[in-house]
Symmetry: C2
Subunit: 245 residues, 2 copies
């Protein structure tokens, strides 16, 4: 698979056990879409070294940018740094600049061995200064290790995204009063003829709605979208289209 | 890895492109938790045959029950049945009972070749009658192919869950006014000594909260939870605990 776009890994026992509802995945999805960076997957997995190693290795094979959420901290369940290092085949090292930051933050309080775990990172890690936080963004190449706490995740995400660029997508929605079975043959043909345009078909089963199927047509090039929309509409009676938007 | 519990695969271009926010993953997480069926992962992936094959094969290796959401239907982007069949190494067959159901539902309208795609399933599939819907639940062994439309997903999920049984979990939450670095050494020790108890540590960074870290302690056996809670509390001054719940 071509390594473009992004993949996300939400490391969260607390999510999978319904203790908290994940906010970071949906937020990341929204922000990447706004920037035009395609997202290939969001995996929510347990705080388990093997599971994280596996997910990180696969994410790196299928996407250029990999975001992790969670498992960054000083306690026993914070295993993301170690797992990412394993996935990259790199040792974990203690970063002197993070040790200094932890000591500065502790002030006159004792610095515990556990608090120094925050200074551990895969070898080759680069820290990005995070405005508004003493804790920088931990990155290794195009892999970004973000904290699971939503307000911290959002702050650090913006610091990362400010360095990336994407290609915004043109999207047209077509709302039809036909069912999917009646639309399928035309959708098939246009999708096959225009592989560079993404066409989606989403039925609703609610008599209160004014349409039965929403068809989405999108591509980076507006002309390609317009072309596909024209071909689709040519395949149906004019009154099959409820509206477009 | 031991094959217990469940894994979920959300097949959704529309989710990953921020067109809709996934409701099925969070709902499944909640319902499995209520039933005490542990969930090992929720992967949201594209409507792509290779991606689905890979996700299904991995899910089956790590979990007994596999739930998919989406990609069930008559249009070009509905590739779940084909991908699941590939992952299982089985051919796709047309189910006569589904052909009959589709014909019955069409009544006097013509049955299009595309509408008959709904009758395709991996060989060996079993259909579960779905109260309130003409469309049954499509299952293959312990793999459940649910539709992506949330109200249909929920209906079919209950039909599946009524046949499964789990082991509800006992959970105690401990709210501390200490930071994670101060808690880490004791958490480490108890987590190491009691591998059958899951201990989680979740900091908050909001001065308006009355605590700094929530520690979760859970296990199927209540006595194990009580034991772990006792050991944790013995490791801290009495006034470190804000409350338990």
């Amino acid at each position: 698979m071509e390594r473009t776009g992004a993949a996300a890994i939400i490391i969260g026992n607390e999510v999978l056990t319904a203790k908290v509802k994940d906010e970071n995945g949906p937020h990341l999805i929204q922000r990447l879409r706004e920037l035009g960076i395609p997202l290939v997957s969001v995996e929510t997995i347990l705080d388990d070294v093997d599971a994280i190693v596996d997910a990180v290795a696969r994410a790196r094979r299928k996407a250029r940018y990999v975001f992790t959420s969670g498992g960054i901290g000083p306690t026993h369940d914070d295993v993301t740094v170690r797992a990412v290092a394993l996935a990259l085949g790199r040792p974990v090292v203690r970063l002197p600049e993070m040790v200094s930051a932890i000591q500065a933050r502790a002030g006159t309080s004792p610095v515990t061995p556990e608090s120094l775990r925050l200074a551990d990172a895969p070898e080759g890690a680069v820290l990005l200064a995070q405005p508004g936080m003493w804790f920088p963004v931990l990155t290794v190449g195009d892999l970004f290790l973000l904290p699971g706490v939503p307000q911290l995740f959002r702050l650090q995400l913006e610091t990362v995204l400010s360095r990336l660029s994407g290609t915004p997508v043109h999207l047209v929605n077509l709302y039809f009063n036909l069912g999917e079975s009646a639309l399928a043959a035309v959708l098939d043909r246009v999708a096959l003829d225009m592989p560079h345009v993404a066409i989606g078909s989403y039925p609703v089963f609610d008599a209160a709605m004014d349409y039965r199927v929403k068809v989405t047509v999108e591509a980076p090039e507006r002309a390609h979208v317009d072309d596909a929309v024209g071909r689709l509409l040519a395949g149906f009676p004019a009154d099959a289209l409820v509206r477009r938007g």
